[in-house]
């Protein structure tokens, strides 16, 4: 056998993404590319009202329209016990409304027709008689005396309250505040935003009438978990359900839940015996599927005479929409918000959270937030900046003084987290150096003297990502482990099957690199498969920056298992004792005589052709990895911004980002994740919002109202790294998919507040739009 010398593509190499060849040439295979023989098309009639009783639905005209095969209403679904479904947070959600509609855009009826156009035409012929009810558009309204009851469908539900949840130690926190020299307070709203993946959600449901097997092609970030949910909801045996998530054009959390369209399309295929396709249009995606945030937050930070942080108190009001459908670990009602002490050594903290129903779309934790870590990080970083400004000390100095110190790790936080590793000082000092912090502060002083408004924003976030460990973290009882199955073929090429599912994160490249590193098979020779539940080991899916912490670890472990077997095989081939073999990436050799060697490819061949007595043939294995702890990525972001006195426009001049996500498997891909997150953070800080008018009409239902940032308006990002490995992850890696979306919004807003502070402006809620800035300036007599 000839030995090829090819680049390995191991850890730390910026290998070009394997998947890009097909994406860049238009050869990807997205859900809407799929056409099956005999396939029907479904369209959904949605409620125009935020809150209304349904008096009657007349579908007779639609039923008679050209091409229409079926019209489905909630009443029909109720006959099959499918009018309601469970949510991932243990609530119920209407599949098609029977009694009331509870948000604008809610699913009311479906038309299944030969073409999508015919289905859309027929929708207009359905006549729904609504009795409009008053709408509730905020938790404050929801809790008010005499507020209309949204969930009158739920036995025993007397008001609009969903949950009360606390973390930390109330008494200890009260004591800290009683002894404080200074208390800084901030109330802010983290606005409702939307993940807005470029590919909307959809399904092609294909229930084979002969075998009964349901093959569901679905835009799903979590195909295995969804299969289990489907089995429980629909009562189908789980082996009769196969979920295939094809190429996915962005998920950001939007593609974790089960949506009513999936259920109806599957039921329709089952009843009609033909495949049924449903793909959302843009407006459907924005108004009805998993949104993010909508948290009303009040934080108080207590400091002592030395400007040390001694206590943190937070109260939260969560606007969960009409159904409590957050996709989050079941023990944590407000997600992982209690990471809110962030990067600081704060001995006492207490968080209370209350969730409320409103007449808005359900959801809440989607969008690169790792279960509400975005909200937590935003609050603490805004508070710390305001504290520094109020105390009149430099924002970096206050942070450096209060950071958890490197020698304190593993660090137990006041709300119970055990941080794995960190060096916050180092990341901040690097950011200051790269930005030229001191010079810019001087420039700011000069500009101020001339009446110009310039600000420097700082945020030093700490995230908690990579759920679980399974004992603490589960979704509907399913422990949040993940998996990898590795099979090496006789010629030394390999296939790696994962329980997680990429939506653009580059798994097909990164995970092959892990195998390359651990088993010495070039990354180019490792095909990564994912998304097909019949073909991959069980896992909880890709969200919350968890793929590398969980499935990445599983891949490393299974590769090492195979290497152990390979060593035995090599010993057999080399007629040497196992202990006498040395491993160097890609080959074993006999200690002291490096020419006596066998490559991993030769060993793989032997696994099928030339085995020692008693050894099982083959070279493959599977690992389910339940991590011992979460990982805690961190970093410092700095933003320089100029504010226009006349128009209130904010121009971001520079962004310096230092990220530490532990060991970087593919630095280029990590960089891409960070660039994207900094861009998204800009959007959240300055332009994106899904608002509602008093009648509950959703404003932000298309891309002319919901303003996604592009390369046009976002600044250039200057990115840097420090590397502090995770001590418990087999590769030392932490998750990185959400760092910049979590960390950057506070940095942008802090820059604006830093610019306006001397005028007396202490807060502007996101999105920081020009009119809000203008209003803040005019209120203080500043103008042009």
């Amino acid at each position: 056998m000839s030995v090829e010398v090819r680049p390995l593509g191991g850890i730390g190499e910026s290998v070009k993404r394997k998947e890009d060849a097909r994406f860049l040439r238009g050869k990807g295979n997205y859900l809407d590319d799929l056409t099956l023989p005999g396939m029907l098309h479904m369209a959904i009639l949605r409620s125009p009202h935020a809150h209304a009783r349904i008096r009657a639905i007349d579908t007779s005209m639609a039923q008679a329209a050209p091409g229409v095969v079926a019209v489905v209403t909630g009443e029909l679904l109720a006959q099959h016990k499918l009018a309601w479904m469970p949510t991932l947070s243990g609530d119920t959600q209407a599949v098609l409304a029977t009694d009331k509609v509870r948000f604008q855009g809610q699913e009311v009826a479906c038309v299944v027709a030969e073409t999508r156009y015919q289905a859309e035409d027929a929708l207009q012929l359905i006549d729904v008689d609504y009795e409009v009810l008053p709408a509730i558009t905020s938790p404050q309204q929801a809790m008010a005396e005499g507020a209309p009851l949204i969930r009158d469908d739920k036995q025993g539900q007397q008001d609009n309250h969903i949950y009360h949840w606390e973390a930390g130690d109330r008494e200890a926190t009260d004591r800290a505040f009683a002894s404080a020299a200074k208390v800084v307070r901030l109330t802010t709203h983290y606005p409702r935003s939307h993940p807005a993946p470029l590919e909307t959600c959809g399904i092609v449901a294909d229930v084979n009438p002969a075998t009964g097997k349901a093959t569901l092609y679905m835009t799903s970030q979590a195909p295995h978990a969804i299969r289990t949910v489907f089995s429980l909801v629909a009562g189908l045996p789980e082996h009769q359900i196969r979920i295939i998530a094809p190429d996915i054009g962005g998920g950001f959390g939007n593609k974790v839940p089960v949506y009513p369209g999936y259920v109806v399309a599957t039921a329709a295929s089952l009843l009609l015996g033909r495949p049924v396709k449903w793909v959302e249009d843009r407006t459907e995606n924005l108004i009805s599927t998993g949104f993010a945030r909508d948290f009303h937050m009040t934080g108080e930070l207590a400091l002592d005479h030395d400007n040390r942080m001694i206590g943190l108190r937070v109260s939260l009001l969560s606007d969960n929409g009409a159904f409590y459908a957050d996709a989050q670990p079941s023990k944590f009602r407000a997600g992982l918000f209690h990471i809110v002490t962030g990067s600081y050594d704060i001995p006492a903290a207490h968080v209370t959270a209350d969730g409320y129903y409103t007449n808005k779309a359900p959801g809440g934790v989607a969008y690169r937030c790792s279960f509400r870590v975005t909200e937590a990080s935003f609050l603490i970083e805004r508070l710390v900046t305001n504290a520094a400004l109020e105390l009149g000390i430099d924002q970096t100095e206050l942070r450096l003084r209060n950071f958890i110190r490197p020698e304190q790790f593993p660090y137990r936080s006041a709300t119970g987290w055990v941080y794995d590793s960190g060096d916050y000082q180092r990341a901040m000092r690097l950011a200051m150096e790269k930005l030229g912090y001191e010079d810019l502060r001087r420039e700011q002083a000069e500009r101020r003297a001339r009446g110009e408004l310039m600000g420097i924003g700082v945020a030093s976030f700490t995230e908690v990502v990579g759920a679980g460990h399974g004992a603490e973290f589960d979704i509907m009882g399913l422990r949040m482990f993940d998996s990898a199955e590795l099979r090496v073929h006789p010629t030394g090429k390999a296939v790696l099957k994962l329980g997680v599912k990429t939506q653009g994160q580059g798994h097909e490249t990164t995970f092959a690199q892990i195998v390359a590193q651990e088993l010495g098979i070039p990354a180019a020779d490792v095909e990564v498969q994912h998304g097909d539940t019949d073909n991959t080991p069980y896992g909880l899916g890709t969200y919350a920056s968890r793929s590398t912490p969980t499935a990445g670890a599983a891949t490393a472990v299974v590769s090492r298992k195979l290497r152990d077997k390979a060593r035995k095989l090599a010993a057999h081939l080399l007629e040497a004792a196992e202990e006498d073999l040395e491993w160097e990436r890609g080959r074993f050799f006999v200690r002291g005589s490096p020419e006596r060697a066998k490559t991993i490819q030769e060993v793989a061949f032997a696994a099928y052709t030339n085995l020692p007595e008693g050894m099982e043939p083959g070279l493959e294995g599977v690992t389910y990895y339940d991590p011992p702890n979460m990982t805690f990525p961190f970093g410092t972001y700095m933003v320089v911004a100029d504010v226009d006195r006349g128009t209130g426009q904010v121009k971001v001049r520079r962004v310096v980002a230092v990220d530490d996500c532990g060991v970087r498997i593919n630095p280029m891909i990590v960089e891409g994740q960070i660039q994207g997150g900094l861009c998204e953070g800009w959007g959240i800080a300055f332009t994106e919002q899904i608002t509602f008018d008093p009648d509950g009409n959703c404003i932000g239902s298309n891309f002319t109202d919901y303003l996604l940032p592009t390369a046009w308006e976002t600044p250039e990002f200057e990115t840097y790294a420090t590397v502090t490995p995770s001590p418990h992850h087999p590769l030392g890696a932490k998750g990185v998919g959400e760092s910049a979306t979590v960390g950057s919004p506070a940095a942008y807003v802090n820059a604006v507040i830093d610019a306006l502070w001397p005028l007396g402006v202490t807060n502007i809620d996101m999105p920081v739009t020009p009119d809000k800035v203008w209003a803040a300036l005019r209120a203080r007599g500043v103008g042009e």
Partner: protein
């Protein structure tokens, strides 16, 4: 995002187009670049029975400089004005506005004529044509008529255009004396419609204002000309005081609404700021051109 069904005609001469419109104008819509109409169809906000595509009629895409004036064919695309180097000197306002209209994709398809006929109060070209004192040429089977831009925009999305009529060209008169123009636009992101837009055309003779056209975008039910503000400057030197006064009058001419882009008083103030900034910029560029 799935339009209802419609018939489609693509006439190859103006006569054929006006004939179709005379027969079926009431149920038809003219299709130019489709950048406003097609979104309306997809959202089913408009469901015309017939689309009359003017894309195959020759001659509608001409840009002609004649006797110091300019004629723009109804099908000239935004991108054509962006790229036409001849405009940079005399009709800088046109060249400067073009890149502010939407994004390159829309500019490559959308037309100036379509924008005017759409009569969106947030459209950029309407204000520009008001500032330039343009005339629009409308053609039907019955013949041709010429309408001043100042009387073309009747109400939101309602131009002075009969269902059987087609806009064929836009005529811009020759500027008097030395002229300069600029467009100021506040947008929430690139490609967005204006929160506030101000089109300024300044024409000076002997150091005095001969004409000042001020068109306002997105701050009234239609594109609106701030006539008093412009008139107040005529015959005057462009002093800081005169500029400030005109800016105030322009702000007073605005009649904005509160919406997601901001409250009315904000938009009115931005009109003032923009007119002030814009006129100062034009004053400077005319001074620089002289020296």
């Amino acid at each position: 995002m799935f339009p209802g069904s419609f018939d489609y005609r693509a006439p190859t001469t103006l006569d054929e187009a006006t004939t179709v419109l005379s027969e079926r104008g009431e149920e038809a819509k003219v299709l130019a670049g489709g950048q406003s109409l097609i979104p309306l169809l997809k959202l089913r906000l408009a469901s015309p029975a017939l689309l009359v595509d003017i894309g195959r009629i020759p001659g509608l895409d001409r840009i002609e400089l004649r006797d110091g004036g300019l004629t723009i064919g109804a099908r000239v695309r935004h991108a054509d004005l962006e790229r036409d180097r001849r405009l940079a000197t005399t009709f800088a306002l046109l060249a400067e506005t073009a890149p502010w209209v939407s994004d390159p994709l829309v500019r490559n398809l959308g037309t100036v004529g379509g924008s005017l006929c759409h009569a969106d109060p947030a459209g950029d070209w309407g204000s520009v044509m008001l500032a330039l004192g343009a005339e629009l040429v409308l053609r039907s089977r019955a013949g041709e008529r010429v309408v001043q831009a100042s009387s073309f925009f009747v109400a939101p999305f309602e131009p002075a255009l009969r269902p059987d009529e087609l806009l064929t060209e836009i005529r811009i008169p020759a500027p008097r004396g030395r002229s300069a123009g600029t467009y100021l636009k506040l947008e929430r992101k690139v490609g967005d419609f204006a929160t506030v837009g101000v089109a300024l055309q300044l024409e000076m003779t002997d150091g005095h204002v001969a004409r000042c056209g001020i068109g306002l975008t997105a701050v009234a039910p239609t594109n609106r000309e701030a006539t008093e503000a412009g008139a107040a400057l005529v015959g005057k030197e462009l002093t800081d005081e005169a500029i400030a006064k005109a800016a105030q009058l322009a702000a007073a001419a605005a009649d904005p609404r509160d919406d997601i882009r901001g409250p009315a008083d904000y938009k009115r103030d931005v009109v003032r700021v923009f007119v002030q900034r814009g006129l100062r910029t034009l004053r400077r560029s005319l001074e620089e051109a002289r020296s």
